[in-house]
Symmetry: C2
Subunit: 222 residues, 2 copies
């Protein structure tokens, strides 16, 4: 049985990458992969991979490599992808529609059961086969479906009002596309933030501050 205590967030954040790569390799018909090839595939060192997987009990054999299918399956188990956690989405604007329509929730551990908005022109429209519901009807929906995760695609200003309803009902897991800092107000929640602005700014920094080339020359030439 895998050991699962005190795994650091940086290890956890690499697991989806392993999973994605292994599924991709599996789809391409690769059955077995050496730790060197896998490390090339992932852009990580072989020892890093071994270390990460050892947190969960280890899966490779020295000199034999990894079995792609079984390892993918095992990492899927660790991630919990077969759970189908009942999920709701708030905010049926451009982003909410994109997330609802694009994500393969079922393959990623979740099942999207309801989409909510407060704009009359959005309520009743259909996304991914789901009719957008009035936020005001959420409590009744909750009583029936008991969602455990909420995706927040609303404006930042709408988040507090939504949390005032969700949190007391016991919804404590959030995929947060807003810039509202949920875990600051509710420390006992699980929040995965997607900060698109931060991502774009990081790119801006990298363009603005290109790396100083130093490896190709022993000394700076100008």
């Amino acid at each position: 049985m895998p050991k699962r205590e005190n795994i650091s967030m940086s290890v956890i954040r690499r697991l989806p990458r392993y999973y994605r790569s292994l599924l991709h390799l599996q789809k391409e018909g690769v059955m077995r992969i050496s730790s060197t090839e896998l490390s090339r595939e992932l852009g990580l060192t072989a020892s890093q991979i071994r270390q990460d997987l050892n947190c969960f009990g280890g899966f490779g054999q020295q000199g034999y490599g990894y079995m792609v299918g079984p390892l993918a399956q095992e990492i899927g188990h660790i991630l919990g992808v077969s759970h189908q956690y009942p999920t709701v989405l708030f905010g049926a604007g451009n982003l909410g529609r994109a997330i609802a329509a694009r994500m393969e929730f079922e393959e990623l551990g979740f099942s999207l059961l309801g989409i909510f908005d407060n704009a009359p022109q959005k309520i009743g429209t259909v996304i991914r086969g789901l009719e957008v519901r009035d936020v005001a009807t959420f409590r009744a929906f909750y009583e029936q479906k008991h969602p455990v995760m909420a995706i927040l695609c609303t404006p930042r200003t709408a988040v507090e009002g939504i949390l005032d309803v969700l949190y007391p009902l016991g919804v404590r897991n959030y995929w947060n596309f807003t810039h509202y800092d949920i875990s600051k107000r509710y420390p006992d929640t699980v929040v995965e933030n997607v900060h698109l602005n931060d991502s774009l700014l990081t790119l801006c920094y990298q363009i603005h501050n290109p790396p100083v080339p130093e490896k190709k020359h022993d000394k700076k030439e100008k």
Copy 2:
């Protein structure tokens, strides 16, 4: 003058967070903030913040704290937000439309000049005041506008074809929403990946493996 060499990516990734928090504080009328308050605001230790800012020359004064406005401005300079890097977006599906419509590019260092797709029903539609153009017309567009950054919101399978055009023209900076691994094929590019699947899987892991409570009790009780 700030020093800017060999800054680690983890420091760089925190800068947008500083910038966002400081702008928020500024908007709320806060003029000066102690390092303790700022650290509470950011969920980082005061010494971490000092260390990060020291990479760029340091901005606080012992016992005085930070001037919110000037520090925000200085971090903005470091990030390069005033650049207006000419930018294009590929893929006018749900996600591309959401990104085009939602992001405040001008405040984040970029200027969105063109949106491209290859689907006849999308070409000619208008997003954010921009008419969606035929991918086939990109070269001509490039000659006029010289974009330096491309946002990729297409299916993974379309990426290679797009890179075959962009890379030889000299477009080397990518905000990548696909799962295509750009820097593996083109190591001399600057790529910021937004892996929504990975983010969702990380959340799944955290729900599936809730932290073992151990700090509140000296020993496990059951």
